[in-house]
């Protein structure tokens, strides 16, 4: 499995050289994952495949906007797929207004927290996620990837709604504590 740096490097090669080989490797790594994500989020297999192809084509088109100092390859591709999924549901594009598109003038001096290097932040996120209990990881995954309401997750797992809510809250709180270094 390619490392985070290798994946970043593939996108940078596409941006710089329109490198088809790099694109091919990126496709083989990400297309099956993006499809899996879209299917888990409730899309029919054919729609998921279609949006995956769109996501991959967007990567080719937008490679020059990729900035590894802002988000790593997986995170960047996740947000592209997420936005296409939102568009698909004809919701709003406002969700796209995240850090990467913030106008500079509305951007006061970054806090210490936001200066945390991206690669370090992403590595910490991964470490933090492995430190969650199985129960917490399960509700986090379900509530992150699926459109399901907490009540549906509760009946799927056969636990009370209050328990789902408190597990989500605990998981997020734990994640945050780990990210802020209070391990």
């Amino acid at each position: 499995m390619p490392s985070a740096d290798e994946l970043n490097g593939l996108i940078l090669r596409i941006a710089r050289d329109r490198d088809r080989q790099a694109y091919g490797r990126l496709y083989r790594h990400f297309a099956p994952r993006v499809t899996a994500f879209l299917r888990k989020s409730g899309l029919a297999p054919n729609v998921a495949e279609e949006l995956t192809q769109e996501t991959m084509l967007s990567i080719w088109r937008k490679a020059s906007y990729f900035d590894p100092a802002r988000a790593g390859a997986s995170t960047w591709i996740f947000t592209i797929a997420r936005n296409l999924r939102i568009d698909h549901f004809r919701r709003s594009r406002v969700v796209e207004v995240t850090e990467s598109e913030m106008p500079e003038e509305s951007d006061p001096a970054p806090s210490g927290e936001s200066m945390l290097l991206t690669s370090e932040r992403e590595a910490r996120v991964r470490t933090a996620m492995t430190a969650l209990s199985d129960e917490q990881a399960t509700v986090l995954r379900l509530s992150f990837f699926s459109e399901k309401a907490h009540s549906e997750i509760a009946s799927e797992l056969g636990i009370p709604l209050g328990t789902v809510k408190s597990r989500v809250r605990l998981a997020l709180g734990r994640l945050r504590a780990l990210l802020e270094g209070e391990t």
Partner: protein, 228 residues
């Protein structure tokens, strides 16, 4: 401006996951525009998405998908589509008229610039409201509220989470004082009674999650704008 009231972890996670409805997402985006703290937290939750994408069990693409993708980029190179610019720099089709009077010369926050913003309407003593229409989701209900100094709003509960971003002035309720840049998130179980502070009127951007349940104070406020 430094915010003191921020988006909750759960809200930022839903935004990162693409699951926050358009109305609340617009209000939270307005908060993010001036809050580097929440932008950093959102980036961390988006990284959770990236990490989950890495650990997900991959699903095989159908045969021919890879060839089709390579073909698509060949086509792309032969006849490049209009360069794909970030959404923000694209000319907007539905650029709204600014509300006739935004007192205090307030500049519309960037996330609102693509929205159509209706005229101020009187909806109660000392309370005016303007409907905000989102270009990509006309069904989303977001309201600009403009409330006079010392104006006390009736105590109310909520039928879904209520998101309120202060743009100008300030208000206080049982949970604190909300200044420009602050985001108030009120759970559906919570009751509160906002009072605009005495030093001037308060303009805020509000969205209620859950849509059509029109009871409750903000429900009634929003009612005139609901296109049923």
């Amino acid at each position: 401006m430094t915010s003191r009231h921020h988006a909750t972890d759960e809200t930022l996670m839903r935004l990162a996951a693409g699951q926050l409805p358009a109305g609340p997402a617009l209000v939270v985006a307005t908060h993010l525009a001036t809050c580097p703290v929440c932008r950093a937290r959102l980036a961390a939750f988006e990284a959770v998405g990236g990490a989950l994408l890495e650990e997900i069990e991959p699903e095989a693409m159908p045969p021919g998908a890879f060839a089709a993708a390579m073909h698509a980029i060949d086509e792309e190179e032969r006849a490049p589509a209009a360069p794909s610019l970030p959404a923000r720099s694209r000319p907007s089709a539905g650029r709204g008229r600014a509300p006739s009077t935004l007192p205090g010369g307030i500049v519309l926050p960037a996330p609102l610039k693509e929205c159509e913003i209706g005229p101020w309407r009187w909806i109660g003593i000392g309370v005016r409201a303007s409907a905000v229409t989102l270009p990509h989701d006309p069904s989303a209900r977001v309201t600009l509220l403009r409330v006079g100094p010392n104006r006390k709003l009736p105590e109310h509960g909520h039928f879904g989470t209520e998101f309120t971003q202060v743009l100008v002035g300030s208000f206080s309720d049982e949970f604190g004082r909300y200044m420009p840049g602050d985001l108030s998130e009120m759970d559906q179980d919570v009751e509160h009674q906002p009072i605009v502070d005495p030093d001037g009127e308060c303009i805020c951007l509000a969205a209620l999650e859950g849509g059509m349940r029109l009871t409750g104070f903000f429900g009634r406020l929003i009612q005139p704008f609901v296109r049923l």
